[in-house]
Structure formats: C-alpha cells, structure tokens
C-alpha cells in the first residue's frame, strides 16, 4: 500500500474511532451496514451473495470502492447459507431454494410445540450448556445429526466434518477480506466479534418466542438461571472474535428483549441483569460494544445509561433518535436514525432532509456515525444511498 493510501486508511480509522469514543472527529464517519443492497449494486442476486461468500465479499468491496465510505461490515449478509445447508440447519429459508432467488434469507421460528428446547429441559441446559447444545439441541436443529444413543450415520458424520471445515474456511477468509478492504479501498472493517443477550438466545434458538413468554410466566426462576448459565459462554464467544487492536467494537444484535415483547420487570430482572455484567466485563477488558438495537428500545434508555461512559455505541433503529440523544448522548456515541423506508420509497431530497435533521440535533458535538436505521437490503434505491453518502460528505464536516 502506498503512503497516500495508508494515510487515507489511517485517517478513516481515526475518524471512526474518535466518533465511537463520543469525540468530535474532522467529519461525521459514514458506516452503512449494507447487506443485500451490495448484491443489487454489484449485479448479483441474493442467492449468489448469500450462498457464495466470495461474491458477498466482492460485492462489499465494489460498494466500498464506489461509495468511498469510511467503514463497512466485511460481510453484512453474515449467514452464509452454504454453511448452514452443509450443517443441515433447519431454521433458514435459503434464497433460491425455498424462497425466490432474489429475496434475502429468512429465519424460520418453529411452532411452539416444535421448539428446539422443551420446557422441562432447563436443568439440563443449566448444568452443562455446551453438552446440551451438542447432545440435545444440535440433533433437533440439524437434519442429519442423529440423536444421542441412536446409531450414527454417514450423513451425521459428514455434517460435523464438512460443517467444521467449512466454518473454519469462512472465518479464516475474513482476514483476507479485511486486508483487501484496507489495501484496495482503504475502508475500515467496521466490527469484530458477536454478542447476543442470554434471554435473546433463549427466545431465538432454544425455546422460541412464545415458549419463552410462557416460561417467563410459569418458571421465571429457571429462565433466569438459564440466562446466568449462558453468560460466561456468550462472553467467551464475544471476546474470541474481538479486534486485537481494540479499535472496532464487538456488536450485540438485540432482538426481542425489550418492552413490549417482554415486561419491564423481566427486562430489569432477567434481560438486563444478565447482559449488563457481560458488557461491563467486555469494557473492563478494553473493548466497546455496539448496541445494534433492532426495533424500538426507547423504554430502556435509562438502563443503558447505567453503563460506563464510552463503553458502548448505541445504534438507533425504530427508536426516537432525538430522545436517545437526550438520554445517552453525553455518555455514548450514537449511530443510525435514517429510516429504511425512506431509502426504499423516498426521494434523494427527502433522504438529504432527514440526514440534515439528524445531524443538526444529534451530531453537533461529535459522537455520531451516519447509518440507516437497520441493515440496508435490496429494497433501498441506489440513488438514495448515494444521496445519503454525498450529503454527509458535504454537510458532515465539523
């Protein structure tokens, strides 16, 4: 990389990091979480980028080169369905297989009576979460994995062998993707490491949302103890993928742990009580967490304000970004706030107006990163994403 390119990369990294630490960089960083939009822009179908991650990577690099953003996610269509199909995971609708080829992949939640964990299995999960996942959960979620005690099969063995090797290949390929983003387009890889809240994991992948709600009423103590049992493992997973340079954040993808999906009481006593210590420990070890608050978490802003200053970046999806700024803006960087419907159905002028409205209130003293509200999929118009980018380049200079 030439000196000029290296300098450009360092300038972008510095801009991004200063903003994430709630500081005022030279201008507002642009860090759009572009997912299936990359396929639309680069000329691929959703099936191509979801099932062939080399195409997903290429599409991200093309967008990074053409839009000149500060930071992007190396592959925001993170669920590589080539891997999930190899393992045999049942809970994805794969583009080009069970849904149309140019539709984003879908998560299929099983019916309540088909939940991947039964209501009487909490003690088993609590006593050994890893053993439970291998021995009970995986045979239920993977078509070829046999139940414990049943004869093994050729396809059972292949699920583990192919799945393990494919996952390793996939994870290892991110190093090369990040290097190419840095060297070819001088773009920062925006995040590293994944976190989910214990209660979200229980709802998403084990009990299902309806089952979890019933458990919160019928056996709340078991739910709390299960969340506590998951905590050290979710912390370990998050830290294992973190940025060794401690520049970019671990991301928590927040799903259904907020009002009205659950009650205030369950949020405080279970969701937040078992997530907050994880975030505090991550911060103690020197990493920030990006709260990707999918949906509307406005009821809980005062709880998030309990966290140490600068420990998180708070991303606003359908919440009120102005209220969020009032409650959290003194302590944390904020990102997002440009509604996805505007990128899909609005005009470039409407996008520019919304960007201005957000910047004028939220970004005055720094501590703001430009992004859409949610991941940008293939419904977004190219001209609107371009309008967002160009407007911030002009208007976002401090």
């Amino acid at each position: 990389m030439t000196q000029g390119k290296e300098q450009l990369y360092q300038d972008r990294l510095k801009r991004y990091v200063i903003a994430m630490r709630n500081g005022k960089p030279d201008r507002i960083p642009i860090r759009p979480f572009v997912a299936e939009f990359t396929a639309k822009y680069a000329g691929y179908t959703c099936q191509e980028i979801t099932h062939d991650y080399t195409k997903a990577f290429a599409a991200v690099r093309k967008c990074a080169a053409d839009f000149d953003w500060d930071a992007v996610v190396a592959n925001m269509v993170y669920v590589w369905t080539g891997l999930t199909q190899t393992i045999g995971l049942k809970y994805y609708a794969i583009p080009g297989v069970t849904i149309e080829a140019d539709v984003g992949f879908q998560y299929l939640e099983p019916a309540e009576d088909q939940a991947f964990m039964k209501p009487d299995e909490y003690d088993e999960l609590i006593s050994d979460p890893t053993g439970f996942l291998f021995n009970v959960w995986l045979p239920r979620v993977a078509v070829d994995v046999q139940d414990m005690g049943k004869p093994s099969t050729y396809r059972n063995n292949l699920s583990f062998l192919k799945g393990g090797m494919a996952m390793l290949n996939y994870f290892n390929s991110f190093g090369e993707q990040n290097r190419r983003l840095q060297e070819e387009t001088q773009t920062v890889s925006a995040i590293a490491g994944i976190l989910k809240a214990p209660l979200d994991i229980l709802g998403d992948k084990l009990r299902g949302y309806i089952g979890l709600c019933m458990d919160l009423l019928e056996r709340p103590e078991k739910v709390r103890r299960a969340c506590e049992a998951l905590m050290p493992h979710l912390l370990h997973v998050a830290l294992s993928g973190a940025d060794p340079d401690k520049n970019v954040p671990i991301t928590i993808w927040m799903h259904r742990g907020c009002v009205p999906f659950i009650s205030h009481e369950h949020f405080e006593n279970i969701y937040w009580a078992t997530l907050k210590p994880i975030v505090e420990e991550i911060w103690r070890q020197g990493y920030q967490v990006l709260f990707y608050a999918e949906g509307n978490w406005d009821h809980h802003l005062h709880s998030f304000a309990e966290l140490p200053e600068k420990s998180i970046i708070y991303h606003v999806d359908q919440g009120d970004i102005f209220e969020t700024h009032k409650v959290l803006g003194d302590k944390f960087c904020i990102s997002g706030g440009i509604p996805n419907y505007l990128l899909s159905y609005g005009t470039p002028d409407e996008v520019r107006r919304q960007c201005k409205a957000v910047i004028d209130v939220v970004a005055g003293d720094g501590g703001y990163i430009m992004d859409a509200s949610a991941i940008i999929q293939n419904d977004a118009k190219v001209e609107n994403v371009r309008a967002l980018t160009e407007f911030i380049r002009e208007y976002g200079v401090y």
Partner: protein, 54 residues
C-alpha cells in the same frame, strides 16, 4: 453416578478428563495439554457459533 465437572467456556472435554485416559506421559505434558486445548476450542466455537451466529 459420578458427577462430571461443568465444562468451562472454551472446553468440551477437559484436559483433566483426557489425561486420565492416557498412559503415563513420558514427554512434555504441557505441550500435550496446549494442543489438546487449542483443538478443543475449535469444537467449542463450532457449536457456540452455530447457536449465536448461524
């Protein structure tokens, strides 16, 4: 029934459990332990990423 210790994060089958299955170690036990644990962490990450990431 013998109660197995609860595996820690990063571990599926602990080194202590594996060590009991081996004859007396003639060489470098630390080396064996390190490589065992390195490979353990791969199996651990496999199942936890199936849960958390995929």
């Amino acid at each position: 029934m013998e109660q197995k210790p609860k595996p820690k994060p990063g571990v599926c089958v602990g080194w202590e459990e594996k060590l009991k299955e081996l004859p007396e170690i003639k060489g470098d036990e630390k080396l064996l332990q390190k490589i065992w644990q390195d490979n353990e962490s791969l199996a651990y990450m496999y199942i936890w990423h199936c849960l958390v990431s995929f």
